[in-house]
């Protein structure tokens, strides 16, 4: 297990986060939703209406973890977590989607030696709608991956501020 110091030590270090992020995402979906994710070479989706969940990281590593996808995809994820289909527009969809982001961020953090105590997570924030864009601080590197959940794309992004 690499430490945060090792991963932050080189200019290209942030790209070394990618495999850890990938494992962190897959574990959450396999253990909590019972789903195997598949990889896609497609670019990140820009669905309308969209939903984005964010969790902030602060401390030795500062940044924002975010997950975004179309509302129908998030609804399907929520139904897998809840064991029942939530009603359209139900706050349960946002709650479940935010919790997925929280677990991915926490699981990612726990995969980096020594980071657990030196990096705090914020509570999740969830945005839904059909016309918004999300932009974190300019001074950041981004690691982004697009995966398929039941054949539907969703993107996970980690912006790390230097």
């Amino acid at each position: 297990m690499k430490s945060a110091e090792e991963l932050l030590s080189t200019r290209s270090g942030h790209q070394k986060w990618a495999p850890l992020l990938d494992v962190a995402i897959r574990e959450v979906f396999e253990l909590m939703l019972g789903e195997q994710l598949t990889v896609t070479g497609d670019p990140p989706p820009h669905p309308q209406p969209a939903i984005t969940a964010m969790v902030g990281l602060a401390g030795q590593v500062c940044g924002v973890m975010s997950i975004r996808c179309g509302l129908p995809v998030a609804t399907r994820m929520a139904s897998k977590m809840l064991g029942a289909e939530p009603a359209p527009g139900s706050p349960e969809i946002q709650d479940a989607f935010g919790e997925i982001c929280n677990m991915v961020a926490g699981n990612f953090k726990n995969k980096i030696a020594g980071l657990g105590d030196k990096c705090m997570l914020s509570v999740p924030t969830v945005i839904t709608g059909s016309d918004y864009s999300l932009r974190s601080l300019a001074d950041s590197d981004t690691v982004e991956t697009t995966l398929l959940f039941q054949g539907m794309p969703f993107a996970v992004s980690l912006e790390i501020h230097s």
Partner: protein, 128 residues
């Protein structure tokens, strides 16, 4: 086998449902499940209700799980009731801190129902 009542403390309603489902899939004879969204709500519930088991998140608004564990031992209805932390905070120091505050078990999210069963069954051995 006697019935078991549990209190699940988490600010996510989704997680509360998942934890309850995990307890049921572990075969526990649940007679009552109480839910709270933070430590303050949980302490309030425990003043009025007795439970056999508490499962508690750490990162919550209003009162977090560590503060709740510290305070819960002072609630008459909760004396001797085992508290298991279920949280994304997985560092060794968080585990040590939780256990020193009085928690009896620690489960990291993401988790499987079997992990919940493993932690809970041993804590409830005298009641099952």
């Amino acid at each position: 086998m006697s019935g078991i009542s549990a209190l699940i403390v988490d600010d996510s309603s989704t997680m509360r449902k998942i934890v309850e489902r995990s307890l049921r899939s572990a075969g526990l004879p649940l007679t009552a499940v109480f839910e709270a969204g933070n430590g303050v709500e949980a302490l309030g519930l425990l003043k009025e209700n007795r439970v056999d088991l508490i499962l508690c998140d750490i990162n919550m608004p209003v009162m977090d799980g560590l503060e709740f564990v510290k305070q819960v031992s002072g609630v008459e209805n909760a004396k001797g009731v085992p508290v298991v932390m279920i949280t994304t905070e997985g560092s060794e120091s968080h585990v040590v801190q939780a256990l020193s505050c009085g928690a009896r078990g620690y489960i990291r999210k993401p988790f499987t129902p079997d992990q919940v069963k493993e932690h809970v069954i041993s804590l409830l051995a005298g009641k099952l």
